[in-house]
């Protein structure tokens, strides 16, 4: 689905240059839920932004279904982005627009047929269970509801890929489980490939089929897990791989 080849990204700061992502190669399999986990400052969010080129890599290639995004024109890139959804820790909804308007914006951007927009908006809101909130403004909604609206917005154009930047880090545990359920449902019923960046072990434990561990700008461990993998009790000892799969191995960071 999505491949990163030796991508690097550094930022210039007052104290000099800071390398956020260092030569990362990564393959996201179609139909997977791919978790990227690591401590804060490990470069996870930057890596996610390299996937839809919100950040341009200094080096390396980003391929979406074999197409090099890094070589597209601005217009072509915008078209590709319309086929990828993205959700954020702080939801990033348009606060001065109603719930239905928020979901309608991406449809306007992609030139979705005008007459069918309203139906599509309602369809997406139904999917996340918020059709009764269509006329509300985001300020009136709870955090979990706002993230659902953001998910509906991200799904509007029927994406193949959904990028999630710490989607549950601003939510309480019950709401987190709720949102993860929605993401799993999107993956299983719509066949959308999901990439999740998180620092929360439980997120990876509960829904990810593939895991990459990130540390200081590098992927230090990658593995996949199956349903029958033993889910160990939550703990903070051992490698990320041990904590997620209950099996020895992995890299101690």
């Amino acid at each position: 689905m999505l491949t990163l080849q030796e991508v690097s990204k550094s930022f210039t700061q007052r104290e000099g240059s800071y390398q956020a992502v260092r030569g990362v190669s990564l393959s996201v399999e179609a139909g997977s839920i791919h978790g990227i986990i690591g401590a804060s400052g490990a470069g996870k969010s930057t890596l996610l932004r390299l996937m839809n080129l919100l950040e341009r890599p200094d080096e390396g290639m980003v391929l979406l279904e074999g197409r090099p995004l890094t070589e597209l024109t601005e217009l072509e890139l915008r078209r590709e982005r319309q086929k990828m959804g993205m959700i954020f820790q702080q939801f990033n909804l348009v606060a001065n627009a109603t719930v239905s308007r928020n979901v309608a914006i991406p449809l306007e951007l992609s030139g979705y047929p005008r007459k069918e927009r309203r139906d599509r908006v309602m369809e997406c809101l139904q999917f996340v269970g918020l059709e009764d909130k269509a006329g509300q403004y985001p300020a009136r909604l709870s955090g979990g509801q706002r993230q659902r609206v953001a998910i509906a917005r991200a799904l509007a154009n029927g994406p193949k890929l959904l990028l999630c930047d710490e989607p549950t880090s601003a939510l309480d545990p019950a709401t987190t489980a709720d949102i993860l359920g929605v993401l799993r449902h999107i993956n299983s019923s719509l066949g959308v490939t999901v990439v999740i960046v998180t620092h929360e072990m439980d997120v990876v434990r509960s829904i990810c089929s593939h895991v990459s561990v990130m540390e200081e700008g590098r992927i230090v461990d990658s593995f996949s897990r199956r349903e029958e993998d033993f889910l160990p009790p939550a703990g903070h000892s051992g490698s990320y791989r041990e904590q997620i799969t209950g099996k020895a191995g992995g890299v101690y960071v």
Partner: protein
């Protein structure tokens, strides 16, 4: 006691009309040119989406020069430009030129400030969903900043009224000029008080309208 007011009624209405023309044209200039200029000031700033140091420095210099000019001197300095634009340097239409220049510079700063308050995440979401530059500005940036933009325009309008009171120097007329010529220079105190009251009422009305509209637009 109100004889003098009746005597000058026609002039009073004429002066109010002149004030409306001067302020109205300034508001138009502020919206049509100050808004894009403010948006450009915002986008070219360090760390913003279209960061451009040299353009940013240039625009800031221009805006600061206009804003730091003592207003009367600006009016005088702009006389050749005014003549070029409207064919004469005196009268109400001529007075709108320096007022509009100040209006553009003044409002552009307030626009820049309002836009800076829009959360970066909102623009990131816009880019992630493939928004063009125009869509990013009109469907995201201005929508989120709209109550600030209205409050800024309200504050600007009130300043334009204040600036317009001195336009008598180039024959611009207006309520301020009326108060000076008939009230102060002819010792008709009631006329001056009346003119001042008109201005106060006008400013109160504008502020009330602006604040109300801004509040209704703000759903955050």
């Amino acid at each position: 006691m109100f004889e003098s007011l009746q005597q000058y009624e026609a002039q009073m209405w004429e002066s109010i009309r002149e004030t409306f023309v001067m302020v109205g044209v300034s508001i138009g200039a502020a919206v049509l040119l100050g808004l894009p200029l403010g948006t450009l000031l915002y986008f070219t700033r360090k760390g913003q989406l279209y960061e451009n140091r040299s353009l940013s420095a240039l625009l800031n210099a221009v805006v600061n020069v206009v804003r730091s000019f003592p207003f009367l001197l600006l009016v005088v300095a702009l006389i050749p430009f005014t003549r070029l634009l409207v064919g004469t340097a005196i009268g109400t239409m001529a007075a709108t030129v320096p007022l509009s220049i100040v209006a553009i510079a003044y409002y552009s700063r307030l626009v820049e400030q309002s836009l800076l308050e829009v959360p970066r995440g909102t623009l990131e979401a816009a880019r992630a969903m493939g928004a063009s530059r125009t869509a990013l500005i009109f469907k995201f940036l201005y929508v989120e900043a709209r109550s600030g933009l209205v409050l800024g325009l309200t504050a600007s309008t009130i300043s334009f009224i204040s600036f317009s009171t001195v336009m008598g120097v180039v024959g611009g007329g207006g309520v301020g000029d009326f108060a000076i010529r008939y009230g102060y220079q002819r010792f008709e105190t009631e006329v001056m008080v009346y003119a001042i009251v008109v201005m106060i009422v006008l400013v109160q009305l504008i502020q009330f309208t602006g604040s109300t509209v801004a509040r209704l637009l703000d759903k955050r």
